[in-house]
Amino acid sequence: MSLFTLIENWEGRFKKNSFETVSYAKKIADKLNSQLTVLTFSAKQPSELSKFGADKIINISNIKFEEASNDLIAEICQNHIQDGDYQTLVFSNTNLGKNVSPIISQKLNYELLSNVISHPDSISPMSVKCKAYSSKAIVEYQSSSKLNAISIVPNSIGEINESPVEFELNEIEFNKSTYEPKLKVLSRSESTEKISLPDANIVVSAGRGLKGPENWKMIEELANLLNAGTACSKPVSDMGWRPHSEHVGQTGIAINPELYIAIGISGAIQHLAGVNSSKNIVVINSDPEAPFFKSADYGIVGDAFDIIPKLIEEIKQYKN
C-alpha cells in the first residue's frame, strides 16, 4: 500500500502549492511507512519533487498541463493508479484538482474528501477536517473505506517541508492513440503577468466604497508593491468595474492568503464567507460601524482616498 499524488505545473514549472501538496502527502506516507508516487506532466525539473519526499516520480513527457483536457489527465492518472497499490490519493483542490478528483474517485471507487484543511487526525480510519458552509463551519469527516482520495485547499496547510529522498524518475510518453479525449480544448488564456488569486500570499481587495473603476489604479499600485493579487466584492464585478474572476466570497472565489486587505468593503456575511480563512485581515473603511471590523485583525477608520496613497508611501519607505 502506498500513496499517489498528482502535482500540477504551469509551463513546466511547479506552482507554489505543488510543494505543499507533496509535503502533505509525504507526512501521510511516513506515518504509513510507505512510498510516495508523484505524477506530473512535462515538468522541466521533475527531480525537484524529491526534495520534498517524492520516492517515485512519473513525468509524462509528451503532454502538457496547459494543453490537456481534464478527462485526459484523469485517464492517465487512473491508468497509473490501477497499476499501483495506492491506499490514499492526494490532490490539490485547485480548478484542475476539482475537475479530475471526482472522476478518478468515482471510476476507481475511492471515497473523496474535498476541501480538506488539516493533516489527517487519524489515518485508518481516515479522518480529516474540511471547510463547510462557505467557511462558516468546519466539518470533521471519517471514512470507513480503505481507499480514500484527499483534496486539500491550496495554502490551507501552509507547510512545505524539505525531506530529500533517493528517488526513481520515470519519463514516460503516453500513447495518445489509445484514448480519445471527451473534451477538446480550443484555447486557453492564463494571465501570467498577474498573480492568481488562489496562489497569492497577499490579496488587496476593494469594494463599492471605491466609487468607480477609474479608482483602481491605486489598488493596483498597492498590490504591485506588495506582490499581491487583486480581488473585489461581488457588486463591483456585477457592475463590470472589475472582471468576474476577481470576485471573492460565497458565490465567488474562496481564498486564504496570509494577508487580506479589504478597502471600502462593508463585510457582508456572503463576502466574509470567501475570505475569513485569511490568516490576517486588514480593513480600511470610512464607517466605524462597518461589520467587517468585527472580523478584522487590523483596522483603519477613514477615507480610502486619503489612506491608500499614504499607505503606498509608507510601504515604499519601508522597502527602502
Binding site: N99, K184, V185, Q270, S295, G299
Partner: protein, 249 residues
Amino acid sequence: MNILVCISCVPDTTSKINFTQNKKKLDEEGITFIINPYDEFCLTKAIFMKESSGANVTVISVGDSKSESVLRKALAIGADNAVRINADSDSSKSVANLIADYCSKNKFDIIFCGRESIDFNGGQVPGFIAAKLNLPFINSCVGLDYTDDKINAKREIDSGHEMCECSLPAVVAGQKGLVEEKDLKIPSMRGIMTARTKPLEILDPESTYNNNIEILELSKPSERSDCKIISEDNVGELVQLLHKEAKVI
C-alpha cells in the same frame, strides 16, 4: 433538447450556522432553504434555452420533503417538470449515483449542476455523475453555446479561461457567467399559478448506495482576536505591525 437541472437545497446565504446538540447536523431552526445559488444560474440558462429553441427542462433534487418548496419555485421560474428522489442527501456519491440512475432511464442532452453546493462545498456531485455515465464534464462553466449535438463552453481555470468543445450528452457544472446576475429569473404570479399544475414526481430510490463517510463533528472556526484600530494619521504603524507582529510583509 432535454435538459436536466440538478438542484440542491441549501440554507439561505445570510443564515447564521448553528449545530444540533451532538454537533453532527445543522440546526435547522429558523433557517430558510433556497435553491443553491450556482444552480439558479443553471436553471435560468436552461429556461433561456427552452425559450430560444424549445428545450424541455426537468429539475431534480435528492432529499427529503424540504426540497419540494425549492422544486416548486423552480417550476414557477419555468421548469416543465420536477422530480424528487426520496433519499438521504448526506453522501455526495449516493446523490450522484441516484441522479445518474435517473439519467440512464431518461435521456438528457445536458445535465446541469452547480459548481458546488454552498452547504458542504463538496463540488463532487457533477464530476461523479459524469464519471458514472462516462460523459464529458465541463466544470466551472461561465459561458455556453450549443447546437443539437455539440456544446462550446467557456470555463474558468486557475487564473484565466479555457474554451472547450464536446459532444452531447454532457455534464456542465455552472456558475455566474452562464447567465448574468441581472438575468436571473424570478417567479412571476402566473408562473406560481401554473407551477401548481405542473408535475412534481416523488420517486423512491431504486438502488441503495452505502455511505462510507460519516460526520464526526461540526465546529466553528476559531474567532479572531479583537481588531486593532490604527489611527488614520499613523498609517506607518500598520506597516510596522504587518512586518513585526503579523510577519506577513
